[in-house]
């Protein structure tokens, strides 16, 4: 829900930059309209800064970097769509990431690692995200290729109740510990993982701490878990 | 020497035949114990100061109020000894009580009775046996049993590791030590310590004192083999694997505290002195003065013996703060593939050299 909201604001700002301002005005919800206005002001200031800053190398590096990134993400997205048409939902993927259905993520990741065009041999980071109170959880993979020196971000969202994502531990060895940590913090089950148990918290800790709706348990083995610092008023 | 003279002074009375002998032995044992205690304090102070100087520190200094550590930290070793004596003496509940209590004494006995054959000066030797050096080598291997007992009885995995390692290490380093002593005995053809030292009097090639160190290149090699395997026998770096701080915390001595730990500590320093004493007298001319003519009265003899031993102890301390630690299997390689073959060749070499040079 928040993602397409962000999408809405981005398009509105781009159109407003070209000139017709009323696209932002006719957004009904007051909060999003103010956010869009703020984003517009920022974009304008950004544009001015780019213009008057003569030094080409800084900026071009920055923009080319994002241009290169865009192409990498786009380029990989196109590649994937040819191979697995039904798994990638195109509309959600932006220049920064590729959205994938969790169903046969294992096959896609094997392809990403072995295909000579991608060769993503190093899984940089797995980040678990809780998108909102009732909305679903999301797992974001940052992959990087040591040979091609390019990076891509892949997001897989899964429902909050039974969050199941296939484990990539057999493909990238570090997936083992990253997935255990994401399971520890978000309770996302990674199917096919060797021994999925908590890595940072004690094994018998209840609840998933980084979820937005997480209540700290009262006592742990009889020890009171302090919530707020009392005791020294 | 002292034991025989004491027996002359106290004629064996008919009533208790052995009593004078026991009194004589006690009269010798107590001064040796006092000597070890005083020497250990000096050695601990030396180690503290030398290690600090090596590491750009000043070591224990003693300004300030109260007994602090007096000037230049001289009282620091006394403070350490008092601390160890006064500290609570914990025996782990699951430890094997009898062996746990017995272990430190066996280790100390191993080092203590070796002092009786050390030639401090021409006249000052507890018991001038004709098998002096053989006796010392035999007795100093008693310490291993104590360490194994300590490791096994404290019922803790780490001490077991430490005990097994030290058993392997000390037993295997006895062999090169004994083989290099064989090279010495071949030349001096006597095993009594005084005899070995007497052999080393006079000059060789005009200016060099006739120490066994110089008069034969192979005994020069035998000295280094003996000294380094002596370092290995006292569990000093680079062979301090039994009580490796970074792996086994304190090896066989992890569970000990208070007075018992002090005994282990004391026996380590006593062992160091035994090794340096034997090395000094067997290879560096014991109480012989380097200039044969002058300064060879018994008093000076004691000075020469002590200075040579202290120099070797300084070398051991110097080793400790310079070298990293060997791994257990590398330690075995060095001994079995390094020292033993060389010391065997050495014995052969000493014979050939003696035959040719005469």
């Amino acid at each position: 829900m928040t993602d397409n909201l962000e999408q809405l604001i981005k398009e509105a700002v781009e159109k407003a930059l070209e000139g017709d301002i009323d696209v932002i005005n006719n957004i009904e919800d007051r909060v999003t309209r103010s956010k869009a206005k703020a984003a517009l002001v920022k974009a304008k200031r950004e544009a001015i800064k780019e213009k008057n800053e003569a030094s080409p190398d800084e900026n071009s590096n920055d923009s080319s970097d994002s241009k290169k990134d865009k192409t990498t993400n786009e380029h990989i997205a196109e590649l994937l769509i040819q191979q697995f048409p039904d798994d990638i939902n195109k509309e959600l993927s932006s220049n920064k990431h590729i959205q994938i259905q969790p169903k046969n993520w294992l096959v896609i990741s094997k392809y990403l690692r072995d295909d000579p065009a991608c060769l993503f041999d190093s899984l940089q980071c797995i980040t678990g995200v809780d998108l909102g109170e009732e909305s679903d959880l999301e797992v974001r993979y940052n992959l990087h290729s040591m040979t091609h020196r390019h990076a891509v971000e892949i997001r897989i969202s899964c429902p909050r109740k039974k969050a199941k994502v296939p484990s990539v531990e057999s493909i990238w060895r570090i997936g083992d510990w990253f997935e255990r940590e994401t399971y520890d913090m978000y309770g996302i089950e990674f199917e096919g993982h060797r021994d999925l148990k908590r890595i940072l918290l004690p094994e018998d800790w209840e609840g998933w701490p980084l979820r937005k709706d997480y209540e700290v348990q009262e006592t742990y083995h009889g020890i009171i878990v302090p919530k707020v610092k009392e005791g020294w008023e | 020497m002292i034991v025989d003279r004491l027996i002359e002074w106290f004629p064996t009375s008919a009533a208790w035949p052995g009593i004078t002998f026991i009194v004589a032995v006690i009269l010798c044992a107590v001064p040796v114990f006092l000597f070890i205690a005083v020497y250990a304090l000096v050695a601990i102070y030396g180690e503290l100061k030398i290690s600090s100087f090596i590491q750009d520190k000043v070591g224990p200094m003693g300004q300030g109020v109260g007994l602090h550590a007096w000037r230049w930290g001289l009282l620091q070793p006394v403070a350490d000894a008092l601390k160890l004596i006064l500290k609570e003496d914990i025996i782990p509940s699951s430890a094997d009580k009898k062996l746990f209590i017995l272990a430190p004494f066996i280790v100390f006995i191993g080092a203590f009775i070796a002092f009786s054959a050390l030639p401090f000066s021409q006249t000052l030797i507890i018991a001038d046996m004709n098998i002096g050096i053989f006796y010392i080598l035999a007795v100093s291997s008693l310490g291993v049993i104590g360490i194994i007992l300590a490791g096994w009885s404290s019922n803790n995995k780490w001490s077991l590791y430490g005990a097994m390692r030290s058993a392997a290490q000390i037993v295997s380093y006895e062999i090169p030590a004994a083989l290099s002593i064989v090279a010495v005995i071949m030349l001096t053809s006597t095993m009594s310590m005084q005899g070995i030292i007497q052999y080393q009097s006079g000059l060789i090639w005009g200016f060099l004192p006739n120490w066994l160190l110089f008069n034969n290149p192979f005994t020069f090699l035998a000295f280094f083999i003996f000294f380094i395997s002596g370092v290995a026998e006292c569990n000093r770096t680079p062979f301090d694997i039994p009580e490796a701080e970074s792996e086994l915390v304190a090896g066989a001595f992890t569970e000990y505290s208070g007075m018992r730990y002090a005994f282990f500590f004391l026996s380590e320093y006593a062992n160091m002195f035994v090794v340096s004493g034997v090395a000094a007298s067997a290879f560096m001319g014991g109480w012989q003065s380097p200039i044969p003519g002058m300064l060879d009265t018994p008093g000076w003899g004691l000075f020469w013996f002590m200075s040579k031993s202290m120099f070797l102890i300084f070398m051991m301390i110097w080793f400790r703060w310079t070298f990293p630690r060997l791994r257990v299997d590398q330690l075995m390689d060095v001994c079995w593939k390094g020292f033993i073959p060389i010391s065997l060749v050495n014995i052969f070499g000493v014979g050939i050299w003696h035959l040719i040079v005469g």
Binding site: K229, W232, E233 | I50, F53, I54, Q55, D56, K57, V58, M61, Q63, G64, W318, F319, W321, T322, F323, G338
Partner: protein, 194 residues
């Protein structure tokens, strides 16, 4: 066989170089001794130019200090503290900028702003403080700073403030005045007015 002898030769040479290095240190101890005999020789205060410019003051992160007379009770430092170790209670003053002598409240701060609040409690729990200096930055009156901060002439560097009891580490900077007195002081003047 060659490898065996080379190994021995390498061991001997590297041992001797290692011992040479340690002997050099042993020999030149007087020159490169680094020990600081703590109780007698104190930690030297790093010589640093204490400029008058606020951002260039001498920076030593030791103990927090608050000039309570300048504090206007704006709670900015309390919000900026990442570990919430600053606790401030304020009471409204009937008329701004007026001194209330009964509770030692000065109306005007050093910078000349009129105070609208009496700070009845200003506690910093130094055992909780993480010495990150984030509270010093937003203070409009520059009245909270670490000793060795901008007005460091008033305070020698104080890094020996350990206590035996943890509660003594809670530094109370507010004036030692009981709440009833503050109540009565602030309320009387309002009655007189009405």
């Amino acid at each position: 066989m060659g490898n065996y002898l080379r190994n021995i030769w390498e061991t001997i040479t590297t041992m001797l170089t290692g011992m040479r290095v340690t002997f050099q240190h042993l020999w030149l101890i007087r020159r490169n001794n680094v020990t600081l005999q703590y109780p007698e020789e104190r930690w030297p205060r790093p010589e640093r130019d204490i400029g008058f410019d606020h951002s260039n003051y001498n920076v030593i992160r030791s103990r927090l200090h608050v000039d309570i007379d300048d504090c206007i009770g704006c709670l900015k430092c309390e919000r900026a503290c990442p570990v919430d170790c600053i606790k401030i209670d304020t009471v409204k003053v009937p008329n701004r900028g007026e001194d209330i002598h009964s509770i030692g409240h000065t109306g005007i701060t050093a910078n000349g702003t009129k105070k609208a609040m009496v700070v009845s409690r200003f506690d910093i729990d130094m055992s909780e403080c993480c010495y990150c200096n984030l509270c010093v930055y937003p203070c409009p009156e520059e009245c909270i700073y670490m000793t060795g901060g901008p007005n460091s002439e008033k305070h020698e560097i104080d890094y020996e403030f350990s206590q035996y009891d943890r509660n003594d580490l809670i530094f109370r900077f507010a004036k030692k005045v009981s709440d009833e007195e503050i109540e009565s002081a602030t309320s009387i003047s309002s009655e007189r007015e009405s």
